[in-house]
Protein backbone atom coordinates (compact mmCIF):
# COMPACT_ATOMS: atom_id res chain seq x y z
CA UNK A 1 0.00 0.00 0.00
CA UNK A 2 2.08 2.89 -1.18
CA UNK A 3 -0.71 5.09 -2.51
CA UNK A 4 -2.03 7.46 0.10
CA UNK A 5 -4.28 10.48 0.14
CA UNK A 6 -3.66 13.63 2.13
CA UNK A 7 -5.44 16.82 3.03
CA UNK A 8 -3.25 19.87 3.28
CA UNK A 9 -4.24 22.82 5.47
CA UNK A 10 -1.65 25.30 4.26
CA UNK A 11 -0.22 28.20 6.21
CA UNK A 12 -2.62 28.53 9.11
CA UNK A 13 -1.80 31.78 10.86
CA UNK A 14 -2.67 31.36 14.49
CA UNK A 15 -2.26 33.82 17.29
CA UNK A 16 -2.34 33.61 21.05
CA UNK A 17 -2.05 29.83 20.96
CA UNK A 18 -1.23 28.00 24.17
CA UNK A 19 2.52 27.61 24.49
CA UNK A 20 2.39 25.93 27.88
CA UNK A 21 2.76 22.49 26.38
CA UNK A 22 3.49 20.62 29.62
CA UNK A 23 3.86 21.63 33.27
CA UNK A 24 7.61 22.15 32.86
CA UNK A 25 8.18 23.21 29.28
CA UNK A 26 6.99 26.15 27.24
CA UNK A 27 7.34 26.46 23.52
CA UNK A 28 5.71 24.79 20.56
CA UNK A 29 2.13 23.71 21.41
CA UNK A 30 1.79 20.10 22.53
CA UNK A 31 1.15 17.36 19.97
CA UNK A 32 -2.15 16.60 21.70
CA UNK A 33 -3.37 20.05 20.63
CA UNK A 34 -2.85 19.36 16.93
CA UNK A 35 -4.31 15.88 17.05
CA UNK A 36 -7.23 17.29 19.01
CA UNK A 37 -7.89 19.89 16.33
CA UNK A 38 -7.81 17.24 13.60
CA UNK A 39 -10.14 15.05 15.62
CA UNK A 40 -12.54 17.97 16.03
CA UNK A 41 -12.42 18.55 12.29
CA UNK A 42 -13.21 14.90 11.61
CA UNK A 43 -16.21 14.99 13.95
CA UNK A 44 -17.56 18.12 12.32
CA UNK A 45 -17.16 16.71 8.83
CA UNK A 46 -18.84 13.46 9.80
CA UNK A 47 -21.79 15.40 11.17
CA UNK A 48 -22.08 17.14 7.83
CA UNK A 49 -22.64 13.86 6.04
CA UNK A 50 -19.18 12.49 5.27
CA UNK A 51 -19.82 9.69 7.70
CA UNK A 52 -17.15 7.30 6.38
CA UNK A 53 -14.37 9.83 6.56
CA UNK A 54 -11.30 9.14 8.67
CA UNK A 55 -8.54 11.60 9.37
CA UNK A 56 -5.80 9.23 10.35
CA UNK A 57 -2.58 11.00 11.04
CA UNK A 58 -1.19 14.47 11.01
CA UNK A 59 2.16 16.08 10.25
CA UNK A 60 2.81 19.58 11.55
CA UNK A 61 5.15 21.89 9.71
CA UNK A 62 6.01 25.11 11.49
CA UNK A 63 6.81 28.07 9.25
CA UNK A 64 7.05 30.75 11.85
CA UNK A 65 7.01 30.80 15.61
CA UNK A 66 6.89 33.79 17.92
CA UNK A 67 6.87 33.00 21.62
CA UNK A 68 5.51 35.83 23.72
CA UNK A 69 8.39 36.31 26.12
CA UNK A 70 10.59 39.26 26.92
CA UNK A 71 14.32 39.31 27.42
CA UNK A 72 15.83 42.65 28.34
CA UNK A 73 19.39 43.58 27.42
CA UNK A 74 21.77 41.57 29.59
CA UNK A 75 19.08 39.29 30.98
CA UNK A 76 19.80 35.58 31.23
CA UNK A 77 16.23 34.41 31.67
CA UNK A 78 13.22 35.38 29.64
CA UNK A 79 9.98 36.36 31.29
CA UNK A 80 6.51 35.61 30.05
CA UNK A 81 4.59 38.48 28.52
CA UNK A 82 1.25 38.19 30.25
CA UNK A 83 -2.31 39.30 29.73
CA UNK A 84 -4.44 40.88 32.42
CA UNK A 85 -7.90 39.68 33.35
CA UNK A 86 -10.85 42.06 33.66
CA UNK A 87 -11.68 43.54 37.03
CA UNK A 88 -13.71 41.51 39.47
CA UNK A 89 -17.04 42.51 40.93
CA UNK A 90 -15.51 44.97 43.41
CA UNK A 91 -13.60 46.72 40.66
CA UNK A 92 -10.32 45.22 41.87
CA UNK A 93 -7.63 43.68 39.71
CA UNK A 94 -7.66 39.87 40.02
CA UNK A 95 -4.43 37.95 40.55
CA UNK A 96 -2.26 37.45 37.48
CA UNK A 97 -2.12 33.97 36.09
CA UNK A 98 0.96 33.58 33.94
CA UNK A 99 0.12 31.81 30.73
CA UNK A 100 2.64 31.44 27.96
CA UNK A 101 1.28 32.27 24.52
CA UNK A 102 2.70 32.17 21.04
CA UNK A 103 1.89 33.35 17.55
CA UNK A 104 2.69 30.83 14.86
CA UNK A 105 2.16 29.79 11.28
CA UNK A 106 1.84 26.08 10.54
CA UNK A 107 0.76 23.77 7.75
CA UNK A 108 -1.01 20.54 8.61
CA UNK A 109 -0.76 17.50 6.38
CA UNK A 110 -3.56 15.09 7.29
CA UNK A 111 -3.95 11.57 5.98
CA UNK A 112 -7.51 10.85 4.84
CA UNK A 113 -9.32 7.59 4.32
CA UNK A 114 -12.87 6.75 3.39
CA UNK A 115 -13.44 9.72 1.13
CA UNK A 116 -15.58 8.98 -1.91
CA UNK A 117 -13.95 10.66 -4.91
CA UNK A 118 -17.36 12.09 -5.89
CA UNK A 119 -17.29 14.01 -2.64
CA UNK A 120 -13.97 15.75 -3.29
CA UNK A 121 -15.40 19.13 -4.16
CA UNK A 122 -17.87 19.17 -1.31
CA UNK A 123 -15.20 17.96 1.09
CA UNK A 124 -12.88 20.80 0.16
CA UNK A 125 -15.64 23.34 0.52
CA UNK A 126 -16.66 22.00 3.91
CA UNK A 127 -13.10 21.95 5.18
CA UNK A 128 -12.46 25.49 4.00
CA UNK A 129 -15.50 26.65 5.92
CA UNK A 130 -14.95 24.55 8.99
CA UNK A 131 -11.30 25.49 9.44
CA UNK A 132 -12.26 29.15 9.70
CA UNK A 133 -14.57 28.41 12.59
CA UNK A 134 -12.06 26.38 14.57
CA UNK A 135 -9.48 27.13 17.19
CA UNK A 136 -6.05 25.53 17.04
CA UNK A 137 -4.04 24.88 20.19
CA UNK A 138 -6.29 27.35 21.96
CA UNK A 139 -5.37 30.13 19.54
CA UNK A 140 -7.41 32.02 17.00
CA UNK A 141 -7.02 31.34 13.32
CA UNK A 142 -6.35 34.63 11.58
CA UNK A 143 -6.00 33.46 8.01
CA UNK A 144 -5.21 30.41 5.94
CA UNK A 145 -4.78 29.48 2.30
CA UNK A 146 -7.30 27.29 0.45
CA UNK A 147 -6.98 23.62 1.37
CA UNK A 148 -5.84 20.96 -1.11
CA UNK A 149 -6.15 17.23 -1.57
CA UNK A 150 -2.77 15.64 -2.27
CA UNK A 151 -2.49 12.09 -3.56
CA UNK A 152 0.94 10.67 -2.78
CA UNK A 153 2.57 7.60 -4.20
CA UNK A 154 5.29 6.74 -1.75
CA UNK A 155 7.26 4.64 -4.24
CA UNK A 156 7.65 7.57 -6.56
CA UNK A 157 10.20 10.14 -5.41
CA UNK A 158 8.61 12.90 -7.50
CA UNK A 159 5.25 12.46 -5.85
CA UNK A 160 6.79 12.41 -2.38
CA UNK A 161 8.79 15.48 -3.17
CA UNK A 162 5.74 17.33 -4.36
CA UNK A 163 3.96 16.74 -1.07
CA UNK A 164 6.99 17.59 1.05
CA UNK A 165 7.60 20.77 -0.90
CA UNK A 166 4.19 21.95 0.20
CA UNK A 167 5.48 21.91 3.78
CA UNK A 168 8.65 23.79 2.89
CA UNK A 169 10.05 26.56 4.24
CA UNK A 170 9.31 25.10 7.57
CA UNK A 171 10.27 22.45 10.04
CA UNK A 172 8.28 19.32 10.74
CA UNK A 173 8.22 17.81 14.18
CA UNK A 174 9.40 14.20 14.44
CA UNK A 175 9.76 11.96 17.45
CA UNK A 176 13.19 11.16 18.91
CA UNK A 177 12.05 8.97 21.76
CA UNK A 178 14.63 6.39 20.74
CA UNK A 179 17.48 8.69 21.76
CA UNK A 180 16.13 8.86 25.29
CA UNK A 181 15.49 5.15 25.46
CA UNK A 182 19.05 4.43 24.29
CA UNK A 183 20.79 6.60 26.80
CA UNK A 184 18.57 5.34 29.58
CA UNK A 185 19.41 1.79 28.68
CA UNK A 186 23.10 2.23 27.91
CA UNK A 187 24.09 4.86 30.45
CA UNK A 188 21.56 3.98 33.10
CA UNK A 189 20.34 7.56 33.35
CA UNK A 190 16.88 8.41 34.57
CA UNK A 191 14.51 9.98 32.07
CA UNK A 192 14.87 13.60 33.13
CA UNK A 193 18.68 13.44 33.22
CA UNK A 194 18.74 11.85 29.80
CA UNK A 195 16.41 14.54 28.46
CA UNK A 196 18.46 17.39 29.89
CA UNK A 197 21.65 15.78 28.63
CA UNK A 198 20.47 16.20 25.06
CA UNK A 199 19.34 19.80 25.58
CA UNK A 200 22.31 21.32 27.36
CA UNK A 201 25.04 23.00 25.40
CA UNK A 202 28.48 21.97 26.63
CA UNK A 203 31.49 24.21 26.27
CA UNK A 204 34.81 22.36 26.07
CA UNK A 205 38.32 23.71 25.82
CA UNK A 206 41.14 21.99 24.01
CA UNK A 207 44.70 23.17 24.40
CA UNK A 208 47.21 22.98 21.62
CA UNK A 209 50.47 24.46 22.89
CA UNK A 210 49.80 28.10 23.56
CA UNK A 211 46.41 28.31 21.89
CA UNK A 212 43.25 27.31 23.64
CA UNK A 213 40.23 26.75 21.48
CA UNK A 214 36.70 26.49 22.75
CA UNK A 215 34.01 24.33 21.32
CA UNK A 216 30.32 24.56 22.18
CA UNK A 217 28.04 21.78 21.17
CA UNK A 218 25.22 19.52 22.14
CA UNK A 219 25.37 15.80 22.61
CA UNK A 220 23.80 15.16 19.21
CA UNK A 221 23.40 17.34 16.18
CA UNK A 222 19.90 18.48 15.26
CA UNK A 223 17.27 20.79 16.61
CA UNK A 224 16.17 18.71 19.56
CA UNK A 225 13.37 19.98 21.76
CA UNK A 226 11.39 18.59 24.68
CA UNK A 227 7.82 17.94 23.60
CA UNK A 228 4.68 16.91 25.39
CA UNK A 229 3.21 13.85 23.71
CA UNK A 230 0.37 12.69 25.90
CA UNK A 231 -0.63 11.54 29.34
CA UNK A 232 0.08 8.88 31.93
CA UNK A 233 -2.94 7.88 33.96
CA UNK A 234 -2.21 8.05 37.69
CA UNK A 235 -5.55 7.01 39.14
CA UNK A 236 -8.14 4.40 38.30
CA UNK A 237 -10.83 5.39 35.80
CA UNK A 238 -13.93 6.34 37.71
CA UNK A 239 -16.43 9.09 38.26
CA UNK A 240 -15.40 12.47 39.61
CA UNK A 241 -17.79 15.09 40.84
CA UNK A 242 -18.79 17.68 38.22
CA UNK A 243 -16.70 16.15 35.48
CA UNK A 244 -17.27 17.54 32.04
CA UNK A 245 -18.83 14.48 30.46
CA UNK A 246 -20.83 12.39 32.95
CA UNK A 247 -20.96 9.31 30.70
CA UNK A 248 -17.25 8.74 30.22
CA UNK A 249 -15.00 7.47 33.01
CA UNK A 250 -12.56 10.00 34.25
CA UNK A 251 -9.02 9.66 35.60
CA UNK A 252 -6.23 11.88 36.76
CA UNK A 253 -3.19 12.03 34.54
CA UNK A 254 0.16 13.71 34.20
CA UNK A 255 1.97 14.85 31.07
CA UNK A 256 4.44 12.68 29.25
CA UNK A 257 7.42 14.60 27.94
CA UNK A 258 9.97 13.23 25.52
CA UNK A 259 12.38 14.41 22.86
CA UNK A 260 11.33 15.62 19.47
CA UNK A 261 13.25 17.13 16.62
CA UNK A 262 12.39 19.81 14.11
CA UNK A 263 13.68 18.82 10.68
CA UNK A 264 13.35 20.34 7.23
CA UNK A 265 10.75 18.38 5.25
CA UNK A 266 13.21 17.62 2.44
CA UNK A 267 15.08 15.38 4.84
CA UNK A 268 12.06 13.17 5.40
CA UNK A 269 12.31 9.81 3.62
CA UNK A 270 9.17 8.09 4.81
CA UNK A 271 5.99 9.94 5.51
CA UNK A 272 5.39 7.75 8.55
CA UNK A 273 8.30 9.48 10.28
CA UNK A 274 6.34 12.69 10.60
CA UNK A 275 2.73 11.51 10.76
CA UNK A 276 1.39 11.47 14.29
CA UNK A 277 -1.44 9.40 15.65
CA UNK A 278 -3.08 8.59 18.97
CA UNK A 279 -1.96 5.38 20.68
CA UNK A 280 -3.49 4.03 23.84
CA UNK A 281 -1.67 1.49 25.95
CA UNK A 282 -4.15 0.53 28.64
CA UNK A 283 -1.79 -2.01 30.20
CA UNK A 284 0.59 0.77 31.15
CA UNK A 285 -2.07 3.49 31.45
CA UNK A 286 -0.50 5.52 28.66
CA UNK A 287 -2.39 7.82 26.33
CA UNK A 288 0.16 8.89 23.77
CA UNK A 289 0.66 10.60 20.47
CA UNK A 290 3.26 8.81 18.38
CA UNK A 291 4.59 8.93 14.89
CA UNK A 292 3.50 5.99 12.79
CA UNK A 293 7.06 4.73 12.30
CA UNK A 294 7.58 4.64 16.06
CA UNK A 295 4.39 2.76 16.80
Amino acid sequence: MSYRQFLLLPHLKIHNANALSSPYTIGFPAMTAWLGAVHALQRQLRQQGLSELQLNGVAVSCHQFDLQTYQGPGDFVRSIVGTANPLDKDGRRPAFVEEARCHLEVSLLIEIQGLDSDDDQRFIELVNQQVQRMKFAGGDLLSSRPVEILPVNEDEPASMKKALNKLMLGYVLIERRALLADSMRQEGQDALDALLDYLTIQHRATQDGETVSWESKRKTAGWLVPIAVGFQGISKPGVAKHQRDPDTPHRFAESVVTLGEFVMPHRINTLDDMLWQYRVDLQRNLYLCQTLSNA
Binding site: P73, T83, D90
Partner: protein
Protein backbone atom coordinates in the same frame (compact mmCIF):
# COMPACT_ATOMS: atom_id res chain seq x y z
CA UNK B 1 -38.49 26.58 43.18
CA UNK B 2 -37.40 26.87 39.61
CA UNK B 3 -34.61 24.66 38.29
CA UNK B 4 -31.09 25.90 38.82
CA UNK B 5 -28.32 26.38 36.34
CA UNK B 6 -26.44 23.13 36.89
CA UNK B 7 -23.45 23.62 34.61
CA UNK B 8 -20.16 23.66 36.52
CA UNK B 9 -18.11 23.46 33.36
CA UNK B 10 -19.38 26.08 30.96
CA UNK B 11 -17.44 28.00 28.35
CA UNK B 12 -18.23 30.01 25.26
CA UNK B 13 -15.74 30.77 22.54
CA UNK B 14 -15.57 34.35 21.39
CA UNK B 15 -17.59 35.12 18.29
CA UNK B 16 -15.81 38.33 17.39
CA UNK B 17 -12.22 37.41 16.68
CA UNK B 18 -9.95 40.39 16.02
CA UNK B 19 -6.34 40.07 14.91
CA UNK B 20 -3.57 42.21 16.29
CA UNK B 21 -3.64 45.74 14.90
CA UNK B 22 -0.52 46.71 12.97
CA UNK B 23 0.69 50.30 12.88
CA UNK B 24 2.02 51.90 9.71
CA UNK B 25 3.01 55.41 8.77
CA UNK B 26 1.80 57.09 5.59
CA UNK B 27 0.57 60.45 4.34
CA UNK B 28 -3.03 61.57 4.23
CA UNK B 29 -2.99 62.66 0.59
CA UNK B 30 -0.91 59.87 -0.87
CA UNK B 31 -1.51 56.51 0.76
CA UNK B 32 0.44 54.47 -1.77
CA UNK B 33 3.60 54.69 0.36
CA UNK B 34 3.08 52.80 3.58
CA UNK B 35 5.84 51.89 5.98
CA UNK B 36 5.64 49.72 9.08
CA UNK B 37 6.34 51.66 12.26
CA UNK B 38 9.07 50.34 14.51
CA UNK B 39 9.75 50.78 18.19
CA UNK B 40 12.67 52.88 19.31
CA UNK B 41 14.04 52.58 22.80
CA UNK B 42 15.01 55.90 24.27
CA UNK B 43 16.74 56.89 27.46
CA UNK B 44 15.73 60.13 29.02
CA UNK B 45 16.63 62.09 32.10
CA UNK B 46 13.35 62.56 33.89
CA UNK B 47 12.43 64.99 36.60
CA UNK B 48 11.42 64.08 40.10
CA UNK B 49 7.79 64.98 40.10
CA UNK B 50 6.12 62.50 42.38
CA UNK B 51 4.50 63.55 45.65
CA UNK B 52 7.17 63.71 48.33
CA UNK B 53 6.84 62.84 51.97
CA UNK B 54 6.01 65.82 54.26
CA UNK B 55 9.38 65.47 56.02
CA UNK B 56 11.15 66.07 52.72
CA UNK B 57 8.84 68.87 51.64
CA UNK B 58 9.59 70.87 54.76
CA UNK B 59 13.35 70.58 54.57
CA UNK B 60 14.66 72.69 51.66
CA UNK B 61 18.09 71.06 51.70
CA UNK B 62 16.74 67.56 51.52
CA UNK B 63 14.18 68.63 48.94
CA UNK B 64 16.92 70.03 46.74
CA UNK B 65 18.96 66.89 47.09
CA UNK B 66 15.93 64.83 46.13
CA UNK B 67 14.97 66.93 43.12
CA UNK B 68 18.52 66.98 41.81
CA UNK B 69 18.59 63.20 41.43
CA UNK B 70 18.79 62.43 37.72
CA UNK B 71 15.91 59.89 37.52
CA UNK B 72 17.14 58.16 34.38
CA UNK B 73 14.64 56.01 32.54
CA UNK B 74 14.63 53.86 29.44
CA UNK B 75 11.36 53.41 27.61
CA UNK B 76 10.09 52.18 24.27
CA UNK B 77 8.54 54.80 22.03
CA UNK B 78 6.90 54.82 18.64
CA UNK B 79 6.41 57.79 16.34
CA UNK B 80 5.66 58.66 12.74
CA UNK B 81 8.57 59.64 10.55
CA UNK B 82 9.18 63.25 9.61
CA UNK B 83 7.57 62.86 6.20
CA UNK B 84 4.54 60.97 7.45
CA UNK B 85 1.51 62.70 8.88
CA UNK B 86 -0.93 59.80 9.03
CA UNK B 87 -1.13 56.69 11.14
CA UNK B 88 -2.56 53.60 9.46
CA UNK B 89 -3.91 50.90 11.72
CA UNK B 90 -4.83 47.64 10.04
CA UNK B 91 -6.45 44.50 11.41
CA UNK B 92 -8.90 41.79 10.46
CA UNK B 93 -12.05 40.81 12.31
CA UNK B 94 -13.67 37.42 12.03
CA UNK B 95 -17.32 37.04 12.99
CA UNK B 96 -18.61 33.55 13.80
CA UNK B 97 -22.01 32.06 14.49
CA UNK B 98 -23.03 29.15 16.68
CA UNK B 99 -23.99 31.09 19.79
CA UNK B 100 -26.54 28.41 20.65
CA UNK B 101 -23.85 25.86 21.45
CA UNK B 102 -21.46 26.37 24.36
CA UNK B 103 -17.98 25.08 23.56
CA UNK B 104 -17.98 23.13 26.82
CA UNK B 105 -20.85 22.39 29.15
CA UNK B 106 -21.66 19.62 31.63
CA UNK B 107 -25.09 20.67 32.85
CA UNK B 108 -27.94 18.54 31.53
CA UNK B 109 -30.63 20.97 32.75
CA UNK B 110 -28.75 23.88 31.30
CA UNK B 111 -28.22 22.20 27.94
CA UNK B 112 -31.89 21.30 27.72
CA UNK B 113 -33.14 24.86 28.01
CA UNK B 114 -30.31 27.06 26.81
CA UNK B 115 -30.31 25.89 23.20
CA UNK B 116 -33.93 26.91 22.71
CA UNK B 117 -33.50 30.19 24.53
CA UNK B 118 -30.59 31.21 22.34
CA UNK B 119 -32.37 30.22 19.16
CA UNK B 120 -35.36 32.22 20.30
CA UNK B 121 -33.21 35.26 20.75
CA UNK B 122 -31.69 34.85 17.31
CA UNK B 123 -35.08 34.35 15.69
CA UNK B 124 -36.58 37.35 17.47
CA UNK B 125 -33.83 39.91 17.08
CA UNK B 126 -31.62 38.50 14.33
CA UNK B 127 -28.77 40.13 16.27
CA UNK B 128 -29.61 43.42 14.57
CA UNK B 129 -29.21 45.60 17.65
CA UNK B 130 -25.84 44.17 18.67
CA UNK B 131 -24.57 44.07 15.10
CA UNK B 132 -25.45 47.70 14.60
CA UNK B 133 -23.51 48.69 17.68
CA UNK B 134 -20.49 46.61 16.70
CA UNK B 135 -20.64 48.18 13.22
CA UNK B 136 -20.72 51.69 14.66
CA UNK B 137 -17.70 50.88 16.81
CA UNK B 138 -15.87 49.75 13.70
CA UNK B 139 -16.90 52.90 11.85
CA UNK B 140 -16.03 55.34 14.63
CA UNK B 141 -12.46 54.12 15.04
CA UNK B 142 -12.75 53.58 18.79
CA UNK B 143 -10.03 50.88 18.56
CA UNK B 144 -7.47 53.58 17.81
CA UNK B 145 -7.71 54.39 21.51
CA UNK B 146 -5.31 57.16 22.37
CA UNK B 147 -4.32 57.59 18.74
CA UNK B 148 -7.82 58.84 17.99
CA UNK B 149 -7.57 61.61 20.54
CA UNK B 150 -6.53 64.83 18.87
CA UNK B 151 -6.43 63.34 15.37
CA UNK B 152 -7.55 65.95 12.88
CA UNK B 153 -9.29 63.52 10.54
CA UNK B 154 -9.99 59.81 10.85
CA UNK B 155 -11.08 57.62 7.97
CA UNK B 156 -12.02 53.95 8.27
CA UNK B 157 -11.99 51.64 5.26
CA UNK B 158 -13.68 48.27 5.69
CA UNK B 159 -13.25 45.51 3.10
CA UNK B 160 -15.84 42.75 3.14
CA UNK B 161 -15.41 39.12 2.05
CA UNK B 162 -16.34 39.75 -1.56
CA UNK B 163 -13.85 42.55 -2.01
CA UNK B 164 -16.41 45.31 -1.59
CA UNK B 165 -15.11 48.26 0.40
CA UNK B 166 -17.00 50.68 2.60
CA UNK B 167 -15.51 53.88 3.86
CA UNK B 168 -16.50 55.90 6.90
CA UNK B 169 -15.59 59.31 8.20
CA UNK B 170 -15.02 58.28 11.81
CA UNK B 171 -15.43 61.75 13.25
CA UNK B 172 -19.05 61.75 12.04
CA UNK B 173 -19.86 59.03 14.53
CA UNK B 174 -20.33 59.80 18.19
CA UNK B 175 -18.52 57.69 20.76
CA UNK B 176 -21.32 58.37 23.23
CA UNK B 177 -24.39 56.91 21.54
CA UNK B 178 -25.46 54.50 18.84
CA UNK B 179 -27.96 56.62 16.93
CA UNK B 180 -25.95 56.91 13.72
CA UNK B 181 -27.34 55.50 10.52
CA UNK B 182 -26.22 55.31 6.91
CA UNK B 183 -26.56 52.83 4.04
CA UNK B 184 -22.93 51.70 4.36
CA UNK B 185 -23.36 51.20 8.07
CA UNK B 186 -26.48 49.14 7.50
CA UNK B 187 -24.64 46.98 4.98
CA UNK B 188 -21.85 46.30 7.46
CA UNK B 189 -24.27 45.70 10.33
CA UNK B 190 -26.33 43.38 8.14
CA UNK B 191 -23.28 41.24 7.38
CA UNK B 192 -22.26 41.06 11.03
CA UNK B 193 -25.81 40.15 12.06
CA UNK B 194 -25.97 37.42 9.42
CA UNK B 195 -22.69 35.90 10.62
CA UNK B 196 -23.61 36.07 14.30
CA UNK B 197 -26.96 34.43 13.74
CA UNK B 198 -25.41 31.68 11.66
CA UNK B 199 -26.79 32.58 8.24
CA UNK B 200 -23.28 33.08 6.93
CA UNK B 201 -20.70 30.37 7.70
CA UNK B 202 -18.31 33.12 8.80
CA UNK B 203 -17.48 36.71 7.98
CA UNK B 204 -13.96 38.04 7.67
CA UNK B 205 -13.56 41.76 7.30
CA UNK B 206 -10.43 43.81 6.95
CA UNK B 207 -10.33 47.17 8.67
CA UNK B 208 -7.92 49.95 7.82
CA UNK B 209 -8.11 53.11 9.86
CA UNK B 210 -6.24 56.26 8.86
CA UNK B 211 -5.73 58.96 11.47
CA UNK B 212 -4.22 62.31 10.53
CA UNK B 213 -2.17 63.01 13.64
CA UNK B 214 0.56 65.29 12.27
CA UNK B 215 4.12 64.83 11.04
CA UNK B 216 6.52 62.99 13.32
CA UNK B 217 3.92 62.79 16.07
CA UNK B 218 4.11 60.05 18.65
CA UNK B 219 1.68 57.15 18.27
CA UNK B 220 0.65 54.62 20.85
CA UNK B 221 0.96 50.86 20.39
CA UNK B 222 -0.02 48.51 23.22
CA UNK B 223 2.16 48.25 26.26
CA UNK B 224 3.34 44.76 27.19
CA UNK B 225 2.60 43.26 30.57
CA UNK B 226 5.93 41.90 31.80
CA UNK B 227 5.76 41.23 35.50
CA UNK B 228 9.38 40.28 36.02
CA UNK B 229 11.40 42.59 33.84
CA UNK B 230 14.78 41.15 34.85
CA UNK B 231 17.75 43.33 35.52
CA UNK B 232 17.32 45.45 32.41
CA UNK B 233 16.03 48.86 33.46
CA UNK B 234 13.50 49.48 30.70
CA UNK B 235 10.33 50.59 32.42
CA UNK B 236 7.98 50.54 29.44
CA UNK B 237 7.94 47.78 26.87
CA UNK B 238 5.72 48.17 23.83
CA UNK B 239 4.25 45.48 21.58
CA UNK B 240 5.64 44.65 18.17
CA UNK B 241 5.08 41.71 15.83
CA UNK B 242 8.00 40.91 13.54
CA UNK B 243 9.30 44.40 14.08
CA UNK B 244 6.02 46.18 13.35
CA UNK B 245 4.51 48.09 16.24
CA UNK B 246 1.11 46.69 17.09
CA UNK B 247 -2.00 46.90 19.24
CA UNK B 248 -3.01 43.77 21.14
CA UNK B 249 -5.98 41.93 19.69
CA UNK B 250 -7.58 42.02 23.14
CA UNK B 251 -7.51 45.78 23.07
CA UNK B 252 -9.20 45.94 19.68
CA UNK B 253 -11.79 43.43 20.86
CA UNK B 254 -12.49 45.53 23.93
CA UNK B 255 -13.12 48.64 21.81
CA UNK B 256 -15.45 46.84 19.42
CA UNK B 257 -17.57 45.46 22.24
CA UNK B 258 -17.83 48.80 24.02
CA UNK B 259 -21.58 48.82 23.45
CA UNK B 260 -23.05 48.51 26.93
CA UNK B 261 -25.38 51.47 27.51
CA UNK B 262 -27.73 49.35 29.56
CA UNK B 263 -25.90 49.34 32.90
CA UNK B 264 -27.79 50.83 35.86
CA UNK B 265 -25.64 53.94 36.38
CA UNK B 266 -25.53 54.86 32.69
CA UNK B 267 -27.30 58.21 33.06
CA UNK B 268 -25.43 59.41 36.17
CA UNK B 269 -21.97 58.12 35.27
CA UNK B 270 -21.78 60.28 32.16
CA UNK B 271 -19.05 58.16 30.57
CA UNK B 272 -21.10 56.73 27.73
CA UNK B 273 -21.00 53.09 26.71
CA UNK B 274 -18.70 50.68 28.54
CA UNK B 275 -17.18 47.44 27.28
CA UNK B 276 -19.25 44.29 27.60
CA UNK B 277 -17.89 42.54 30.68
CA UNK B 278 -19.57 40.16 33.15
CA UNK B 279 -19.26 42.75 35.94
CA UNK B 280 -19.31 45.81 33.72
CA UNK B 281 -15.79 46.63 34.77
CA UNK B 282 -13.93 49.65 33.46
CA UNK B 283 -10.23 49.28 34.03
CA UNK B 284 -9.12 52.90 33.88
CA UNK B 285 -11.75 53.90 36.44
CA UNK B 286 -11.07 50.84 38.58
CA UNK B 287 -14.79 50.35 38.92
CA UNK B 288 -17.35 47.65 38.20
CA UNK B 289 -20.65 49.07 37.04
CA UNK B 290 -22.68 45.89 37.17
CA UNK B 291 -22.51 44.49 40.66
CA UNK B 292 -24.22 41.37 41.96
CA UNK B 293 -25.75 43.61 44.66
CA UNK B 294 -27.87 45.37 42.03
CA UNK B 295 -28.61 42.04 40.34
CA UNK B 296 -27.33 43.67 37.16
CA UNK B 297 -24.26 41.49 36.63
CA UNK B 298 -24.05 38.85 33.95
CA UNK B 299 -24.34 35.81 36.20
CA UNK B 300 -27.53 36.97 37.93
CA UNK B 301 -29.17 37.66 34.58
CA UNK B 302 -27.75 34.68 32.70
CA UNK B 303 -28.84 32.06 35.21
CA UNK B 304 -32.43 33.18 34.81
CA UNK B 305 -32.24 33.79 31.08
CA UNK B 306 -30.60 30.46 30.21
CA UNK B 307 -33.32 28.54 32.00
CA UNK B 308 -36.09 30.21 30.04
CA UNK B 309 -37.23 32.93 32.41
CA UNK B 310 -37.99 36.26 30.79
CA UNK B 311 -35.81 39.15 31.80
CA UNK B 312 -37.13 42.55 32.82
CA UNK B 313 -36.34 44.12 29.47
CA UNK B 314 -35.05 43.42 26.00
CA UNK B 315 -31.93 45.40 26.90
CA UNK B 316 -30.96 42.86 29.52
CA UNK B 317 -31.27 40.12 26.93
CA UNK B 318 -29.04 42.08 24.57
CA UNK B 319 -26.50 42.43 27.34
CA UNK B 320 -26.50 38.74 28.19
CA UNK B 321 -26.10 37.72 24.56
CA UNK B 322 -23.34 40.27 24.09
CA UNK B 323 -21.38 38.69 26.95
CA UNK B 324 -21.78 35.31 25.25
CA UNK B 325 -20.52 36.83 21.99
CA UNK B 326 -17.51 38.07 23.99
CA UNK B 327 -16.99 34.54 25.27
CA UNK B 328 -15.46 33.31 28.48
CA UNK B 329 -15.59 30.64 31.14
CA UNK B 330 -18.82 30.94 33.06
CA UNK B 331 -19.00 27.76 35.10
CA UNK B 332 -19.59 27.95 38.80
CA UNK B 333 -17.81 26.16 41.57
CA UNK B 334 -19.49 22.83 42.24
CA UNK B 335 -19.36 23.49 45.96
CA UNK B 336 -21.67 26.47 45.94
CA UNK B 337 -24.58 24.46 44.69
CA UNK B 338 -24.84 22.17 47.65
Amino acid sequence: MAVKNDATVLAFEKKLVPSDGYLYGTTWNDRSKVKPLTLTPKSVRGTISNRLKPALQNDPLKLNAEVEKPNLQTVDACALAEDQDTLKLSFTLKVLGGIDKPSASNGPEFNKSYHGVAQNYVAETGFTELAKRYAINIANGRYLWRNRVGAEKVEVVVSLNEGETLSFDAKQFSLRDFNADSPDLQKLAGKIAAALSGNLPYLLIRVEAYALVGSAQEVYPSEELVLDKGKGNKSKILYAVNGTAALHSQKIGNAIRTIDTWYPAFAEAGIGPIAIEPYGSVTNLGKAFRTPKDKADFYSLFDRFALGETLASKDQEHYVMAVLVRGGVFGQSGKEKE
